[in-house]
Symmetry: D3
Subunit: 341 residues, 6 copies
């Protein structure tokens, strides 16, 4: 198996300790995260050969970011250094009826301002056999749409498998713009990942009979959406959904479904006491790619992806610092949290 490349923005994440509000915080914890970087880190923890591509400025903050990615075993040698700044986001963790609050300060980041000609696709794709991206990247800027188009075309030409997480961000672009851009770019995609809302937000394709804020989600409805998506994008072989039922900011139900043209595969459903839900979807994507790349079979793949992302919810920060053994233990049914000694 070759290298798995992910492409996108990584931001500095600043967060009050515990459940303090930003107003109350004298110190902020610093981690780094971003949809595609999170997938790369998670894959590296699973032992995969993960390469992450972005553009970061030449300063100590970006050095710190690169050191962390490299520390987790991600290949950072293809990252371009230059530009003005890296994106920042402030995250205030929610609890019970109070939702988490995110303040983005990501405009004018190096990766948002990067030009398509800065990307040398041949160097970028050296030894790569899988490309993962999300809907956040083209939402960054018009430049980003352009270089993502260039990257995706090259991937297709090189016969690389492409996965995409729709990841709609309403603070970055409108539903209309998202629809227009993604309707083009998803044509290059083989494996399409979505949460319970993104398909509707981006393409207006809705899950019948589900009420997201209310809670219980209908897996059947998502099977239907999956087929509609495959109809719209004939290149797509797999559609996978994460199904989050938000009981509160502290407790969520979490399950998934993997859909092929022929059949659907539903995962177990976990009730999770949340430590940190940011990056939950990304850890699902990493688990899904791991399962497909390692030929676990569809049922085991969706179980693996959901178990991996279940564990992510118990881990601070964006990154899913979990090994294959730990995921497999949960897939095998041991979610009781007993101490091993």
């Amino acid at each position: 198996m070759g290298k798995i490349l992910t492409v996108g923005e990584i931001m500095m994440r600043l967060q009050p300790l515990g459940y303090k509000r930003l107003m109350q915080a004298d110190t902020l914890e610093v981690v780094f995260g971003g949809g595609e970087a999170n997938v790369a880190v998670s894959l590296a923890q699973f032992g995969e050969d993960a390469v992450y591509f972005t553009k970061l400025p030449k300063n100590a903050l970006a050095d710190k970011c690169v050191n962390q990615l490299r520390g987790f075993g991600v290949d950072t040698t293809r990252i371009i250094r230059g530009g003005d700044r890296m994106g920042i986001y402030f995250c205030e963790k929610g609890c019970s009826q109070r939702g988490s609050n995110v303040i983005y300060d990501r405009a004018n980041s190096a990766i948002a301002q990067m030009n398509a000609d800065e990307v040398d696709v041949d160097a970028l794709f050296k030894d790569v056999t899988w490309l993962h991206w999300t809907g956040i990247t083209p939402a960054l800027s018009d430049n980003a749409v352009e270089y993502m188009r260039k990257i995706l075309r090259a991937a297709k030409l090189k016969g690389i498998t492409v996965s995409c997480d729709l990841n709609f961000r309403k603070k970055l672009w409108t539903r209309e713009k998202a629809n227009e851009v993604m309707s083009e770019l998803v044509n290059y995609v083989d494996v399409l990942i979505s949460n319970e809302e993104d398909s509707k937000d981006v393409f207006g394709i809705e899950a019948s009979g589900s009420n997201i804020t209310g809670g219980v989600l209908s897996a059947d409805g998502y099977e239907e959406i999956g087929h509609k998506l495959m109809a719209k994008f004939p290149n797509v072989k797999y559609v996978a959904f994460t199904l989050r039922e938000s009981i509160s900011a502290s407790v969520n139900n979490w399950s998934g479904i993997l859909i092929t043209k022929e059949k659907s595969f539903k995962s177990k459903k976990y009730t999770i006491q949340i430590v940190d839900r940011v990056g939950g979807g990304d850890s699902f994507g990493a688990g899904l790619i791991y399962g497909l790349v390692n030929n676990l079979g569809e049922q085991q793949t969706i179980e693996y992806a959901i178990a991996a992302s279940c564990l992510k919810h118990t881990i601070e920060g964006d990154f899913n610092i979990t090994s294959v053994d730990e995921v497999m233990k949960l897939v095998g049914g041991d979610g009781s949290g007993r101490v091993q000694r």
Copy 2:
């Protein structure tokens, strides 16, 4: 609308981090709080023009306290500086079957020792249209009974609306003394606030059919108590109860009821994963005042007050650092804690 004045004691609160016991704590977090100050801060977050009155010594600890109140937008210019010390309380946060533990060290505070003649009621009430106080203040000392009497009389003469939270504190006075004093002072009150226990503790008026430590509370019983209170205090137009069902120190059910002579208005009931329950009642009082002052209508007022105080339970410290928008979002039904991005 004019200014809303609250009058009482504010203390330094010292607390171990997380769930550590005092015995284990090498560092203590410092915040400030007190029933009436908490109401003032909450009202200021709602955009109201809140004035807080107390007496604080001339030292750096009290300066720190004033800076914090002022930072939250409370008018602190009427605070008197002098006296020996400010009250302190140590708070050990409980969890599951272990209740929170509070050690008060508040005797001889400046506000407890203040004399009635130090209070210039004309200056104090300048532009004020609403006065809020709680049963803690007259419990501080005989001096305090005297200046509260003076303040309440002046408020009545000036046509100011008066709200009072019964807030019985058995570590400050006996039930008998409380009954005697409050039976006099509540005559000046228009809006009376109580939790599920205070009416019994102060006036011996009981909710039939409720078992407080056991859990489930009967809203009907509280309607009855409300009417008895209005019978005893004919000036009272509204009685409001918070109804706390303590499943454990970590999980409570929380609802409220607003009672007029004609009708009762019950709120939704929330199941809360508690971050910090201190100040829960005060945030209810602030929400209630906000609703009445802004003419939300009785049903919306009790929903607002309960939603505001539900959110308070998810926030560290005494103060309810929550905006009208956040409360209204919860009133509108979104308590699922989804991240906005």
Copy 3:
């Protein structure tokens, strides 16, 4: 009543703050703990005259450990100082589906390498009327088997009551070795304590009809095991079980049963939001000894032991920093966690 002696290893415990993984932790919290030391500390909090015996090296880490034990009122004057090192363990706290993770670094500790002749049993047992040990101690080394044999024989000769917690540790020895050694040493025991798994692990005696990782435990099955244990060890007068139902790493059900030849006494069952479950069994042992020593009666003894250990789950660290009053309040039914003020 005389002194209660406990004998075993105490380790330095290093742990990330909150729910951070070891990989993420820049700082580690330092506490000390070990089965028998935990029992001694808990008994000292209950007002008993607890003596703790171990061997610790002559360095500042061991000084720190001794200071902490002494601070909690444990008599540390019989501890031998010398040897190379004290054991260390790293503990990563679990949450929800992610279990806690423990890394032991305890080989070659002073207490594991201590020789039987270093133990002066007459000095050790001065004024002692109760001896408590656990199955961890003989598992440390062959030396340890030898000095435990010497200690137990001396205890028997001196007419001291002996309690033992089976505490099987699969990282220290095999089931076969444990069976062999414990089959000998438990002959000296009057009160035998086990969790829901130890009897099977050590002696192959199983609870019929229970599925431990699944959850629900059958108290009847444990009654049966208790009788089998008393048949195997005729000297044993009491067998006590803790019955843990692990819903997740965050929530457990917790109850116990105390078995005599004639009758069994089941405790209430608590659903616990866990702060720290390490030392839960030890706090049960301490509660049990407290109940028996103070003649609370069997039913009250098991209720006391389970309530004490329920509270331990809400307290950080190995030690159960809880007073008799706090335990009795919970035994009396007040587990709702209301603030006293």
Copy 4:
């Protein structure tokens, strides 16, 4: 005396704890600071009626900033809310031979993008008798040059005294641009403040015989520069210099000189063990304004300003949290740091 208005940018400052490098920091301390805001806060601590004007976005970070300023007693009611972001800077504290390191991320801040027409000079100057600004503000953007010109013209028309700290920032503009803009704007200034380098950087006017990195500075040379500056800007009545001799990042000598057309006034020189040198110049400016506004006389004014800023170097963060009493005690000669008890 009327209000003292300061105008400029305030940034969020993020800093590792102690002497950690950014690369090592898992948490960052959050404070706020900026040349003109620092002056306002310091003046408010001295009991002056300080008003601070800037533009800040509508988000929780800016709310936090406003709360802090308001907490320190600064009038924040004239601040405009809107725009995209507030500036951020990361500060790594130096020690011994390692200098402090600052990373600015301030481009596109609300105040840099503000238009001159957003400024209502009549409202802005209500009750104001003194205006303070620094060379940082016009360096922010061309917009900023424009609104500073508008503000300064209005000040002149209203007869307001104007003080300016040259504060050259080579990361914001070139020496040429600075020279051009400041040569115009300083014409509106009555009191001109400079450190030992700014006059040369901005206007090319040099101190003869001083070697700044080497250490010892010649006060006589600065007297000469002062007179050259007054020759270039006839409106300037006072020129004041801070003279920093950097022994190392940990120890600096610190003194000042106040120059009028007739005479020069040199302060004592302090050798300072530095806690935080950021904001040192601003605290000097505040002290100078305090002295002039309160008619302390020139010698006492420069002593006050230097003593105030000496104390600032011992205080964490940008703000000089020091009272008039504390400064006066140091002016009076008590710098031995004895404990008062």
Copy 5:
């Protein structure tokens, strides 16, 4: 050698981290300290059998205090529990030209309100051969003067050696009151300890030719004062002075002199980079007692006492956590701070 008893008040000390001002501190470090308790802890670290007597309330804060003293090996069994509160003091650490700032909140402490009849002098002095007290204790209240008189009389009757540190506290009493009370109580004293100021403050006996805030102290002058003190109090055999030269709050010179009727013994002088100077005098007292009790000889005794207290200045908190070996190493001349490895 028998037990060494110290008698006085211990307070909770709350302090910002590092050099933060109280205004800036969100968390406060908690330690305990008080002149006589500090001496007891230091003596226990030196291996002496130290007993500490005070009165503390029955609450978790005092439990914490007792646990810490006991942890350091001090015998706490003679402490009386009861009364309303324990004293608190807030300490803001100074640096460079900014002195440390202490806010006392110690009025109405249990030990200040204790009556002489609560003291059972026979139980108190069991096995005691040395009594140490300071001038702080009788300054607490008139009650305290009375019980100190009772204690000192009993000590004299029992032939116990008595040492006293003058420790004048101007926030507790006037120079006149101190003079009156101490002129009586010091008659019971054998070893009198003073810093460079106390003799003048309490008895008006001055060191000729020294300027304390300025810096350099004349040892000869202190010899003269010593003789004057011995003339006034014929029972006094030794007078010892600590001579602090405060260069700044960060750097002090530190030396001492021990005076007998026949001869004076001057110590080396250390230049100290201060970590925490609180308790510096107390650690000198403990060192002096250690030297006298162990017959080190006068010269070695004063060297030991000064070296011990020099080390105290490098240790956080009130307590001097230093062993005899560490002190002796410094006495022996190794103050270069090399790492041993």
Copy 6:
């Protein structure tokens, strides 16, 4: 230029925050360090291609260690995983007259127990042109002597340049054993590094006229020692000394000398306010290798090495996180610590 390989032990370092003693510390900071690993990290910061070889167990602690090394850009792919444990050391930072205190717990580490046959020298030296080791490694065990002999022989055969830092550790072996082993192994060395004491400790070769604890060191004496060392080890081309003058644990003078057969090159001397002196010598070694590998010339090389290690003393932890630019700025004379902005 090829890769630079360093070989040795890396330990987990646990340290109280600030200047707390171990006795006082509730939390410990975790970093990793060891002589040869420190050199590798420093070289990687200088942009060199550094490879680090050791053996580490398969557990989360060692994973964390590898992640950190990898994060700093060190090639960790040649590290062998296996064995029982990694070494730990506890470090208590000194100040002023109190020296730092180190407690090693490194016995039985994986690298101490590694066998020579586990080392595949061909794989180990792939693309390597420089090997660095220290006297700590053969001191670990007899095994270690054996594999170091194997490694050094292979290096010699492959024509690799070898540097060695004598680094005597009296807690690991005796002077006699060190002399015997190092007298053999240093025969393979081209560049020999020593501090002011090691040559005497290991080979009994003394610097005439220097008094190390006293302070001032004679550079001439070290020239003489250098020549004696080159006489004893004819293969050695360069001898380099670090010359530390320990004024106190807080302030050291720091300089170096580089000696060839023909000439000696003395560096500037820096007076350093110490943040963390551990790793000071290692950072010198890294600087020296950088200078030699990059042909800076002898004078510039010793200046670079001393400046690099001067900066290390201002950085927390074992690793010298400093870039070539930062070192060159200091070499160029800018040690005044001015802020760049």
